[in-house]
Symmetry: C2
Subunit: 142 residues, 2 copies
């Protein structure tokens, strides 16, 4: 058999980040990342990542987003302790959206103290709150 | 009891679209909309909606997106027949992301003929295809 171990070696090197260049970053250099609970399947939140955030997420196994308001990396749970352990990272057909399968430490993804950020539902022309606050945000960020 | 039927009547009028103004549309007038399968919980796709698309989705009970490439409304399944019946519409804490709980007619959301658009997973620095093509796209769009 012909050996092509050199190219194989290059392809499997942990520092090879060609996969990052396959992502279609938007004009701000960002991509939306959806966090889904690996046990319940619930969609917990959507935030944004830049290249550094996605690389750090893949290396550390914890969700690290890019905060557009603070314009810096945002390691999820840095204040609240509610970090997200990442089980898998998926990419869509257009290569412009990420899905993270995650374990939500503390059971709370939302800064309002709820399990999921998607706690409002459209009912008869009104956004109705459908999920309870599990922990007072004042306690989460004290 | 004091009656406030006048204001209640206004609030419940089907044509009242104040709820649309509570959404924080981006600078292009769009909001990301994530479609989740109501049975399996799988995330099938993410697309974008403008105000007209979200209103039409709520009125028709079928997912209608806004195609950024074609710059027009995109009733999901208009070519393939794979329409999405909408069970619920959720909004996140920042009011800038939508989740649609949907029934995927035909069992295929992706234009590649796969169930979900998120069929690639990061494995050892490579995006590996993890889900099969269920139907040849040539058949879907003929």
């Amino acid at each position: 058999m012909t050996s092509n171990s050199a190219s194989e070696s290059t392809a499997s090197t942990p520092n090879n980040t060609d996969w990052l260049d396959e992502v279609r970053w938007n004009s701000d250099g960002l991509v939306p990342a959806i966090a889904q609970d690996c046990d319940s399947g619930k969609i917990l939140m959507m935030a944004w990542m830049d290249k550094t955030a996605l690389l750090a997420t893949s290396e550390q196994g914890r969700a690290i987003y890019y905060s557009r308001s603070r314009q810096r990396l945002w390691p999820k749970g840095e204040s609240s302790g509610n970090v997200q352990n990442v089980k898998s990272i998926k990419l869509d057909c257009d290569a412009d959206v990420i899905v993270l399968d995650i374990e939500q430490i503390g059971g709370i993804a939302c800064h309002t103290g709820r399990e999921s950020c998607f706690y409002r539902e459209l009912v008869d022309g009104t956004w109705e709150t459908k999920a309870p606050v599990l922990k007072d945000p004042k306690e989460m960020y004290s």
